[in-house]
């Protein structure tokens, strides 16, 4: 059992000594969650071909590969894809420029790793494997800033991970579950 909760606020103390969220806080997180999601029409735009579905799939694959290579945690992987989707739904990337998508993917990975990971490699090193395009650190940095501003600096996204402890608590009759009962 690994604590992945990013938004803990106190309600009691779990076995591991970490606090659980209050109802009020959970309600507030539900309310805020929409600020950290892509626009409502994003999925339809992907399906309709308005946004490049294949390119997104490649990006997600690349994120998974880099994540696995560096041993980043699942939250880092989730955040990378979250940033990617939110950016794509909010910013019109120029068509026919595949390198832009690759640059965006690396920037999202880099930001997520900086948010969540202890050991963060140099940004140029995130471009591994069969990347068709390799960017200079300075270029990635500029993309990072564009992502940060496009996402209004809301990088600490409310994610499904944010609710895991709360649901475990609820599933266990409002008692803090014993760690050994959780896979």
């Amino acid at each position: 059992y690994r604590n992945l909760n990013q938004n803990r606020v106190f309600i009691g103390v779990a076995e591991d000594g970490l606090p659980l969220q209050s109802e009020e806080c959970v309600a507030s997180m539900v309310e805020k969650e929409h600020q950290h999601l892509p626009a409502a029409d994003y999925l339809n735009r992907l399906k309709a071909g308005d946004l490049d579905f294949e390119a997104r799939k490649d990006s997600v694959h690349f994120i998974g590969m880099v994540n696995s290579h560096f041993g980043f945690g699942p939250l880092c992987e989730y955040l990378s894809i979250n940033y990617l989707d939110r950016f794509l739904s909010a910013y019109e990337l120029p068509k026919g420029k595949a390198w832009m998508m690759q640059l965006l993917t690396v920037a999202c990975l880099s930001l997520a790793a900086k948010m969540e990971e202890t050991e963060v490699p140099l940004i140029v090193d995130l471009q591994m494997g069969e990347s068709k395009f390799v960017f200079e650190a300075k270029t990635i940095q500029r993309m990072e800033l564009l992502v940060l501003s496009t996402l209004s600096w809301r990088m600490q996204a409310i994610t499904p991970f944010s609710f895991i402890d709360y649901f475990l608590y609820k599933l266990n009759d409002d008692k803090i579950p014993v760690r050994s009962s959780i896979l």
Binding site: Y1, R2, P19, S28, G73, L75, L111, A137, Q141, M155
Partner: protein
């Protein structure tokens, strides 16, 4: 206080977050300068509000600085009268580094960074925590040097001069030979900070041990992982105010030895890499939720992601530190980060 309401999470932010330019502010004077960049006192032109402007220096090798990312992440979570509130971040259009007059030294000296090491690590943070604890206890800056050599000297005077005996590997740090002390200096931390009469007796005893131990170990960057884990546990809001809690004081093993390695040292002068036996893995019980196509990695819990206080550093029932009035009230200055980079 056991339950922190949502109001204590700093969830509210201005709608214009990140979209404005630094030109919305007028710089009044430079307050401080550090490895991260400069801090200015500034006035928001439209409202006249006084804020602190922190200019983030961009690192061309590592992109947007991880320290700034973490700072924003943590400050956005915190909402407490004693913690500066992050108001917004603004950008400046490609301005060059401005040379301000030398400001006051950073109140959070970072020993190995001053010596030219470039690797930011948990040890650096632990050093800072130690310094902050010591300053809370002391009621003022503990290393008030006006420039880096003077500051280093103050550190050596209080913590003892580093050498290969108490800090294996120190002579390999780039600037050690430029700054190493000319005469031997003994550690006098306990004498200097151990006799605080201002605080209630019960707290003093605890604090004494805690401050001395933390600073002692981080000074030589040898705080072993398990102890640093406890340090973070101490910082979490808990039913017991952190300093009076039932948990043992940080790094307080029997004997309170100073400067001797405890536990598995991660090699001279640095932390073990966050591999399978990662540094801050006190919450790591294996497994994980990774159900995707990639096998779960046996890695430590992310440093700082879960251990940070989500609701202010301590409960209202705590006795507080009793020294030094809080610098910032709810209505006090807020901080604005300036990102010195053009967005195109």
């Amino acid at each position: 206080m056991a339950i922190a309401g949502a109001g204590q999470l700093n969830l509210h932010e201005s709608p214009c977050w990140g979209s404005r330019s630094v030109d919305c502010f007028e710089k009044l004077e430079q307050i401080s300068e550090g490895t991260y960049g400069q801090v200015y006192m500034a006035r928001e032109i439209k409202t006249g509000e006084i804020v602190a402007l922190k200019k983030i220096r961009m690192d061309n090798e590592r992109g947007f600085p991880i320290t700034a990312i973490r700072e924003i992440k943590i400050l956005k979570k915190l909402h407490h009268e004693n913690v500066i509130k992050l108001k917004e971040s603004v950008t400046s259009q490609g301005a060059k580094d401005e040379q301000g007059r030398p400001g006051k030294c950073c109140p959070i000296p970072i020993n190995n960074l001053l010596l030219g090491a470039t690797k930011y690590s948990p040890a650096v943070d632990m050093w800072s925590v130690g310094c902050i604890f010591a300053e809370l206890l002391h009621g003022k800056l503990i290393f008030p040097g006006k420039d880096e050599p003077e500051q280093l000297n103050k550190i050596f005077e209080l913590c003892g001069a580093p050498d290969e005996v108490n800090w294996p590997g120190v002579s390999k740090i780039p600037w050690y030979n430029n700054f190493k002390p000319t005469r031997p200096m003994k550690r006098r931390l306990r004498e200097a900070l151990g006799n605080q009469e201002k605080a209630p007796a019960t707290a003093t005893t605890r604090r004494k041990g805690q401050t001395t131990e933390i600073t002692a170990f981080t000074a030589s960057c040898r705080l072993p992982p398990i102890q640093s884990g406890q340090a973070h546990a101490q910082m979490r809001p808990g039913p017991n105010p952190p300093l009076h809690g039932s948990q043992p004081p940080v790094a307080a093993g029997p004997g309170h030895h100073h400067g001797k390695p405890r536990g598995p040292a991660g090699g001279p002068g640095r932390y073990p890499a966050n591999g399978t036996n990662g540094g801050f893995n006190h919450q790591n019980h294996g497994g994980g939720y990774s159900s995707g196509p990639y096998p779960p990695q046996g890695r430590g819990a992310p440093y700082g992601s879960s251990g940070m206080p989500g609701a202010g550093p301590r409960g209202s029932g705590g006795s507080g530190y009793g020294v030094g009035a809080p610098n910032y009230s709810q209505d006090g200055p807020t901080e604005v980060l300036v990102l010195d980079v053009a967005l195109t």
